[in-house]
Amino acid sequence: MPEVTPGDGGDGRGGTGNGVQIDLISGARMEGLTGMEKIRLILDGVREGNIVVLEEGLSPDEESKLIEVTMTEISPDEFNGIEIETYPQSGSSNQGFIGRLIGKESAKKLTVIGPANQIETLHKDENLISALVSRK
């Protein structure tokens, strides 16, 4: 069986020659990382043209920093930023202050992140995210 390695496309981008690389990152893999390490892991992957899927998502504070760091890395004709999708949190408010206080608000929500020019959300509701991924 041929071994597929990242960058087989030979163009310096992630994924294989005809495809798009998808990194599915478990909650356990993210658990030991600092906020900045998580953001680096995500953005390094996305900037290589990969689609990053997080099993448990990011906390609101990490999301805020992800937006901020993404903005600092946008560069004309190179990187336009990210597309990020999670299920809408219909119950987020119900947890309220107490929920946050006891740490239950941890954003355990599947999150999809990709380069803004390669991923387009077709449909999103509380149970389904449908996205179109293209290889640019």
Partner: protein, 213 residues
């Protein structure tokens, strides 16, 4: 005698400061690009101070620096509320300079605008984490409110335990759907308004006084 008078005045001023109203709260006006944040900030500032905050435009990312209007005193029900309004750049996760080319802009200007826009968004996020005491979240009520940026920003605001009011703007337009905005964020109060036309500003000021006073 002069020294004694100076000392007495100095003590008097210090005591006045101690017992004067608290520092004005900084209220950040947040939302996606083109929601009407600056139009609202200007409306509030003009109504209560006579000055504007910044230029308005239909081109996204007109506001690329957070702008503060200090000591805006809003009177409601015999009570005066003092706030600083912080008009922030529209938050997004992507900026492509090519979008500005559609607005008759040369490439060089479009690239500069996009660079300034990215800096502005980063700055807005920083303000949200560090420097605001409450948030007015402005949405264009003709647009779908169920976007990722809106969901994330409301989540970020909630995680900071900041008081927040949702303003469903542009009610003067035919496509306006205030109920859709209210349904998107049922945990927060939604106030309809047209910042451009000045519609429903009485309720807007009443809610600002109630939430941030």
């Amino acid at each position: 005698m002069g020294l004694f008078t100076d000392l007495r005045d100095s003590i008097s001023r210090a005591v006045d400061r101690m017992f004067s109203d608290a520092e004005p709260k900084r209220i950040g006006i947040y939302g996606p690009p083109n929601a009407g944040k600056t139009t609202l900030a200007n409306r509030i500032a003009r109504d209560w101070t006579g000055d504007a905050v910044g230029p308005e435009s239909h081109i996204p990312h007109e506001t690329r620096r957070a702008r503060r209007k200090e000591n805006v005193e809003i009177e409601r029900n015999g009570k005066t509320v003092r706030i600083d309004i912080v008009d922030t750049p529209g938050v997004t996760t992507k900026v492509d300079y090519k979008e500005f080319l559609d607005h008759d802009m040369e490439k060089e200007d479009a690239v500069r605008r996009s660079r300034e826009a990215t800096e502005g968004v980063a700055e807005a996020m920083h303000w949200l984490r560090e420097d605001v005491d409450g948030v007015i979240y402005v949405l264009d009520s003709t647009e779908d409110p169920f976007t990722q940026v809106n969901t994330m920003l409301i989540g970020i605001i909630e995680s900071q335990d900041l008081p927040v009011l949702i303003f469903a703007n542009k009610t003067d337009l035919d496509d306006s759907n205030v109920q859709r905005v209210a349904n998107a964020f049922p945990q927060h109060e939604t106030v309809p308004l047209s910042a451009l036309e000045g519609n429903n500003m009485d309720e807007v000021y009443g809610k600002i006084a109630e939430y941030f006073g």
